[in-house]
Structure formats: C-alpha cells, structure tokens
C-alpha cells in the first residue's frame, strides 16, 4: 500500500515528487490532496494547474480557466461566468479561458433547476451569480495568502491588478503562486466586492468571450465532431406521431453508395439508417419504404385540432383560481354593462435552432460511453442513457460543445435524440462510434412543439372602466404531464406551464376566473423559449389593451392603474419599467403606437412598438424597450438577448405555425417555415434600469413581449385586432 502524502509531510509541492510517488505504485491514478486539503483523485492535468474549486482553475502559466456549468447556446453565459470570476479575482478578463464542465451533478448542479444544466433563464439567477463570484473571490484569497507568504508581507499590502499580483516591488502572475496557494484551505464564504468596486460587472464595453471562435470557424459544435471509425446514422420516423413501425424495406436504399445498413429501433419508433457519411445516409434514408401502424397515432388535421381545443373551452376541467370560478364569473359578467371578449388561436411552434439536433456516441474503455453533444441538461441525459443502455451513470461521460441555438429543443423529458443515438449505437454492437444527424425536415416535422393553445376571455367592465369580472378559458396540451416533471409542475391537476402569467399576473384583477382543460394527443410538446409566457403574455397584454381602448383610456395609464394597489416590490418594479418606457419612447396619449409589458422569469419589461402600415404592407420601424433584470452583469449581452428574444418572438408572431393534415406535419424547411430576415428586423433601443437587486433571467424574457407589442401597434394603426397567430394569416405582409 502506498504511503500517501499527508498535508504536514509535504516538503515540496513539486510535480516530480508526486510523480515519483505514483510511479512507485505503478498506478495510473494520482492520489493526493485537492485544494480543500481532502484526499482526492487528482488528474495529471491538475499537476499542471490548480483547481481552486470546481469552477476555477489556474494554470501554471497564469491563465485562469472558468469551468462553465452551463452550456453556451448564444445567450452569453460563458461571457457572464467569466466576468464574475474576473471581477472577484481581478484577473485579466481578455486572457481568461473557459471550458464546459463534464457531467457531475453534485459538483455542477444548478440549484434553480435542481440539475446540472441550462434552462429557465436560471444560469445566473439560479445560483450562478454568487457561485462564480465566490469561486473567483476564494481564488483571490488564497493567491493573496500565497503572495504574502512568499514575499513576507502583510496580506493587506498585496494587490492584484489584471492578473498581476504585487506588493511593493514584488510582482508575480497567478501561475507563479499556485504551488504555495495549494496549501491553503479554500474559504467557504470569501469576501465579495461591493457594487462600487466593480470594474467588469456592469461594464458594457466587454467583448464576448466566444467572439474569436465564432468569427473564425474555430467554434466546435457537436455536428463538427468526427471520430475515427465513426458511422453516421439518421432515423426514419413515422410521419404521424404515435405511429409504430410495422415493416420496412431497404432494397432501394442498398443501391446508394455509402449505405451500410438499416435496422428497426427496438421501441418501434423508427428505423436507424446507417451510412459512411452524411450525404449517403440522408440519400439512403429517402429510399427507405416503411409501413406504420396508426392505431395510436395522431391523424387529425389542423381544423379538427382547433375544433377540439375550442370544445374544451366550454367545459373547463380545472378551476385554477380556487377563490373564484368561471361559473361565478359568468354570472357576475351578466350584471356588467360593458363587455370585452376575444378568442385566441395560438399554433404549434417548432424551435428550429440553426444547428439541427445531433450527437455522437463513442464507446469508452470501461464499457461505458462518451456522448458528444451541445448538451443542455446533462443530469437528465446521463440518467436516461444509463437506463436505456443499462449502465451506471458514472459510465456515461458527456463532453459538451457549443450549441447552435436551442430555444428549448435540446432537452426533452425523454432525452429523445440522445436515446435514439444510444439505441443506434447499441444496434451496432456498442463498439462503433455513431453520429446521429437530423435534416432540417427531421427538425421541423419531428415534434416537441410549443403547444397549440386556444383561449377565450370575457371581461365585464364597470362604470369607471374597472374590471369587474374576468372569465378566462384555456385549452392546451400539458408539457409536464406524463413526464418525470409532473410531480414538480402539476398541482391539483394543473400544469403551471399552461397558465403561467395568467394565474400569477401582477395586475390586480379581483375576480379572475381561469378555467383550463388539457388537450390530449400523441403530438409531443415542449418548453419553447419562455414556455407558457409565450402564449399568456400575448393574450393578457392583448386583453388589457382591448380593455383600455374600450373604455377610452391610455394603455399605459390603465396598466399603471392595475399595479397601483400592489404592495410587493415586484409591483413597483413593474410600474417603474412602464413609466420609464413612456419617457424613453416619447409616448404621448393619442399616438398610434403599440404597448406591452411583462414580468417573466424575474425580469420586468415594457415595450413601445412603432409600425408603418401601407395597405397590407407592414414595416416594424422601431421598438423601445426598458428592462429591469436586477444587477446587470454584461449590459451588452443583455441588450443582445433582448434584441434576439424580441426578434425570435416577432418571427414566430408573423410567420410561424405547424399545421397538420391527417396527422402529417405540413411544414418542412425554411422556405415554408419562414424565419425573419435581416430586412425585417426593426431597430431596437434598449434601456437597462440600474439596479442592485439579484439578477433576473435574460435568455427568455425578451420573446413573449414581441407579439403583443406588434399586435397592439397594428391595432393602433389600423383598428384591426388580431387574436389568431401567425399574423400573416390576417393578410398583412411584412416588409
């Protein structure tokens, strides 16, 4: 048994001594002390640098590497985490690096999510804000201790500026101090800077950390991964959701050069088509002929789906507001003089991230696998793959790459595409690396949509224009039911995601009855950027607008009126962004502009939209946005997420719908699932409210507000009220 080096025995931390020790034992692991002074397995790699804690590593050459426990899908989290560490450590922001954490839920959990992963606009606000600051601050404290020790000076006399440590005429970079720093206990609660001391947090001049990779073609995405001996696979699926494979023929596919084989997936959900490169596999897939059992499949067309949703509005299954029911509302409304009513039709939406989902699975030496993916929630994927392949979770390694967008698509409750890849990998005997590829058609037609949602509201108004009673009906498929998320998200039968922003609105609406029913279908549905807010901010902001205009009140004034009696901080912050955008946009009563406001995932937004309309042609000229997202870490990233979120919402509002004909999805690619183009993007002016509150989310909140701002602007300009999306169905053409 090796004599393990104990803390007090260390005479020298030199790499040579450790390697000598381990070579005596001829083990391939190094066992030593981690930064906490606890025995741990440390890698060869660690001997080069110092892993201060799971989030920060300092290399021998002084480079600081941030271990990102979130993945980068463009939302700027790698810039955010790097900024937080740079701030507390006084590191050189420009030379800092980052890498994506391996899967290890205990080490890298996002407390907001309850898993290791990215989502819910929670990377910063769900714990990351303090986690990364503390990680940087802890590193600073042990570096300062090390310098004080090395130079025999007081800790107070040690400065760190831009990654250079100094005290009087002494100077060193971080790397020169890590051997000494290694000895110190990592402080559990290191001292953090005050807001007045920030030089990086709140600095709008910082360059994104992923600029270089993404402007040179060097950024590596899962689609770019190539492993020697790799076989390409693409899945031929039932054109109707819920269809089961009966039989298939690959006789024509065999004629395609590069085709290897086609095998049925064990769950009857499709056929794995194997080939030696992307083109051959996609060509071969086209030649597969298959027949499907449609007994349990969705076979309805759009009109029928809409009709079924409408029926559900009449007799709601659930009363969401326990204090006030839809029957009570119906009665109360009868007694009012003025009625506002609207029927809303919001279609199924695809996410369509620019990089269609894909991944690579290769075998590892311990009988496990390594997954290469822009992996959104490693905890779910690791657990699911372990189950499917009957391996231990520790045997599932995940190497995370940049993701070419997600908008929610990259993680499904069943970890769908990862499982498909794993099943294909298994079909080949688990020895050959496989690369799963999706076409854009696979992506658009493949389901996991934002649910279709029909809503109907009847609002009874009183003499002063006040809301007396509000009867709100809702019908959509539940995202959480039937998944492992049901326990967390479904209370008393109601999926929170179906009714969020209605049931928890900040507006003071005394008698708001919400009757909800679940739509049932095998069509797989999923969280789409901002989840339930995408439907419900639209309907609520449209309805408030309708109420205000019905009673001849200014839409901004009316909303401020609905927030006046609120006593929580949230009410004041919401009212504040509304007032600020009124000034920011130069809003005056009587102008024909659109307004909408939202409180989504911890962030308050208010928007004024200006459009020009000439006959049927609409140009979205400009949008003024005020955002209160609490402490603004990277203002330019925040602005970009607002621009991007709004653009994404506008694109969907104007163009997007997924239609069915006898259960088959009609849309297939960008020519018919259109996306906003550069000439249609409005000018967006963003004002960030200065705040020292805890950070709110920013990846998603920009999206829900786009549709109502645009629709309210169109109403103001044309008198036409649009309650069916996409807007293109109303005959408007966006130029």
């Amino acid at each position: 048994m090796t004599k393990l080096p104990l803390k007090n025995d260390i005479k020298s931390n030199s790499r040579r001594d450790f390697i000598k020790a381990s070579s005596l034992t001829s083990v391939s692991l190094l066992i030593g002390l981690n930064a906490k002074g606890a025995l741990a397995i440390i890698s060869q790699h660690d001997m080069e640098g110092l892993e201060v804690n799971p989030l920060v590593r300092i290399e021998r050459n002084g480079t600081v590497t941030v271990i990102s426990k979130a993945f980068e899908m463009g939302q700027g989290v790698t810039t955010g985490f790097t900024t937080l560490v740079a701030e507390e450590l006084n590191a050189n922001y420009e030379t800092m690096r980052y890498e994506f954490a391996p899967v290890n839920t205990e080490k890298y959990i996002n407390k907001g999510l309850g898993a290791q992963g990215t989502g819910g606009s929670l990377s910063i606000r769900g714990g990351g804000f303090l986690d990364y600051r503390k990680a940087g601050a802890a590193a600073r404290e042990i570096i300062v201790k090390a310098a004080a020790d090395k130079w025999s000076v007081s800790e107070d006399s040690v400065r760190i500026d831009n990654g250079i440590v100094s005290a009087g005429s002494n100077e060193a970079h971080f790397g020169e101090l890590i051997d000494l720093a290694r000895r110190y206990q990592i402080p559990e609660e290191p001292k953090l800077k005050n807001i007045g001391e920030f030089q990086y947090i709140g600095n709008e001049k910082l360059n994104r950390k992923d600029n270089f990779d993404k402007t040179t073609g060097r950024a590596v995405y899962a689609l770019d991964v190539q492993i020697p001996g790799m076989v390409y696979v693409s899945i031929f699926r039932s054109p109707k959701f819920g269809g089961k494979l009966k039989s298939f023929s690959s006789s024509e596919a065999k004629k395609v050069n590069g085709f290897i084989s086609a095998k049925a997936l064990p769950n009857s959900s499709g056929i794995a088509v194997f080939g030696k490169n992307t083109w051959s596999v996609l060509q071969a897939k086209k030649k597969i002929v298959a027949s499907w059992d449609e007994t349990d499949a969705e076979t309805r067309s759009t009109d029928q789906l809409v009709l079924e949703h409408k029926k559900l509005l009449e007799q709601p299954t659930y009363e969401v507001n326990k204090q006030y029911s839809t029957s009570e509302a119906t009665e109360d409304i009868k007694k009012t003089e003025t009625l506002v009513e609207a029927d809303f039709l919001l279609p199924f939406l695809a996410h369509a991230p620019m990089e269609p989902v894909n991944c690579v699975i290769e075998p590892t030496r311990n009988g496990g696998i390594r997954l290469h993916d822009g992996c959104q929630i490693p905890t779910i994927t690791q657990g699911t793959l372990a189950n499917v392949l009957k391996l231990k979770p520790e045997q599932i390694e995940i190497k995370t790459y940049y993701a070419g967008g997600s908008f929610g698509r990259r993680i499904t409750p069943t970890s769908d595409y990862h499982v498909d890849a794993a099943l294909a990998f298994d079909l080949l005997g688990r020895e050959t690396p496989v690369k799963l590829v999706f076409t854009r058609e696979d992506d658009i037609k493949g389901g996991w949509y934002r649910p279709m949602h029909l809503q109907r509201a009847k609002i009874g108004l009183g003499k002063t224009g006040n809301i007396v009673a509000w009867d709100h009906r809702s019908a959509c498929k539940s995202i959480a039911k039937g998944t492992f998320l049901e326990k967390m998200l479904v209370k008393d039968g109601i999926d929170h995601w179906s009714v969020e922003n209605i049931s928890d609105t900040l507006y003071s609406i005394e008698n708001l009855a919400i009757g909800h029913s679940d739509f049932l279908s095998p069509i797989p549905v999923l969280w789409w950027r901002a989840v339930g807010h995408t439907q419900n901010v639209f309907t609520m902001e449209t309805l408030i607008d309708m109420v205000a205009t019905k009673v001849g009140r200014d839409p901004i004034d009316y909303r401020l009126g609905l927030l006046k009696s609120g006593t929580k901080k949230e009410h004041e912050r919401f009212a504040n962004v509304i007032r600020v955008v009124r000034d920011f946009s130069g809003w005056e009563k009587g102008q024909r502009r659109g307004f909408a406001a939202s409180y989504t995932f911890g962030t308050f937004l208010a928007v004024v939209a200006d459009v020009s309309v000439s006959e049927k042609e609409v140009h979205i000229d400009r949008m003024f946005v005020v955002v209160d997202c609490g402490t603004a870490i990277n203002p330019d990233v925040i602005k970009a997420q607002i621009e991007g979120g709004i653009g994404y919402g506008l694109s969907a509002a104007i163009y997007s719908e997924i239609n069915f004909e006898n259960g088959v999805v009609m849309e297939s690619n960008f020519p018919n699932y259109k996306t906003l183009r550069i000439d249609q993007m409005p000018k967006i002016d963003v004002k960030i409210v200065a705040s020292a509150e805890a950070p709110g989310g920013i990846g998603e909140p920009g999206t829900p507000i786009a549709a109502p701002a645009l629709v309210n602007a169109l109403y103001a300009k044309t008198g036409r009220r649009i309650t069916t999306l996409p807007i293109s169905k109303s005959g408007f053409v966006f130029v």
Binding site: N207, S280, S651, D679, K683, I684
Partner: protein
C-alpha cells in the same frame, strides 16, 4: 470518381460520389467544419463559401461543378476586407450561438469586396439569404457598415 479541387489554396485530389453537394465534401471528406449545415435547400446561407471569390451556397453546388476551381472557406478567409469584417464583428459583439456566423461573414466579405460603400438597403439585399435564428441582424448590419467605414479609411 476522382476530383481535383483547391480549397483555401491547397490542391486536393478526392474520391467523391457524383452529385454530392460541395458542403458535405468540405465537411465530411476534407474535414473543414467551419462551414455549417442548416437547411440543405439553399435557404439559410449557413453553408456559404467563396467559389472563385464569389459567395455561393455550397449545399446547392454539386462537387463535380467545382473541379479545378478555387474554393475558400471560413478557415481560409483572409485579406483586408475579411479582417475589417472580423474586427467589426468583434467590436459589435455580433455573435450569439454562432452557427450561422461563418456563412454571414463569408457573405459579408464577398459583398464588401464588391460594394465599398453600401447603403442599408444594399446590405439588406445582400444579406437576406443568410438567416439567423438568434436574430443578430441589427448587429450584423452595424458591423457591415462599420467594416465599410474601416476600409474607406
């Protein structure tokens, strides 16, 4: 069939299947993965490369059509226009997910090489074939305008 092509100044003799789009030869055979796939029907522009200096969508070009021609991908893109474009891109923090950005930069560079002082409407026309799902468009426009000014100076 055997095919001689030149990519980023390097002559290559490849064994290819007739009818294979250039995009897949670049990515799967040559192994240059900076050029991306987004739609396969010449709609998104992710696959934009330069063919004898002109921007083309490589998913819509069959490999046999580029025999003995000069192909430039994002990895081989250089020169004063490319440099100005990249600088402007970084300065404006254009990128988000980045997946469309190789195509955007290839299109922008070819465009600015032809049009030294573009109007906003010129930019809109030239770049309409490059879709961006993250909606980085306003920054793309700003960066192209800025790159044009840099080149003028």
């Amino acid at each position: 069939m055997k095919l001689d092509i030149t990519i980023n100044g390097q002559a290559k003799r490849l064994e290819v299947e007739k009818g294979t789009p250039l995009l897949w030869i670049i990515r799967d055979e040559v192994g240059l993965t900076g050029t991306k796939f987004g739609c396969g029907v010449a709609s998104c522009g992710n696959c934009t490369v330069h063919l004898d200096g002109k921007a083309v969508k490589s998913c819509a070009v069959n490999v046999e059509q580029v025999a003995n021609r000069q192909i430039t991908t994002i990895e081989g893109l250089n020169g004063p226009v490319a440099s100005a474009v990249r600088q402007a891109w970084v300065k404006n923090n254009v990128v988000q997910c980045g997946f469309c950005q190789s195509g955007q930069i290839m299109s922008a560079t070819a465009f600015l090489t032809e049009n030294k002082s573009p109007s906003e409407s010129d930019i809109n026309s030239a770049m309409a074939g490059n879709a961006c799902r993250c909606m980085c468009y306003t920054r793309i426009k700003d960066a192209i305008s800025e790159a044009a000014k840099m080149l003028e100076a």
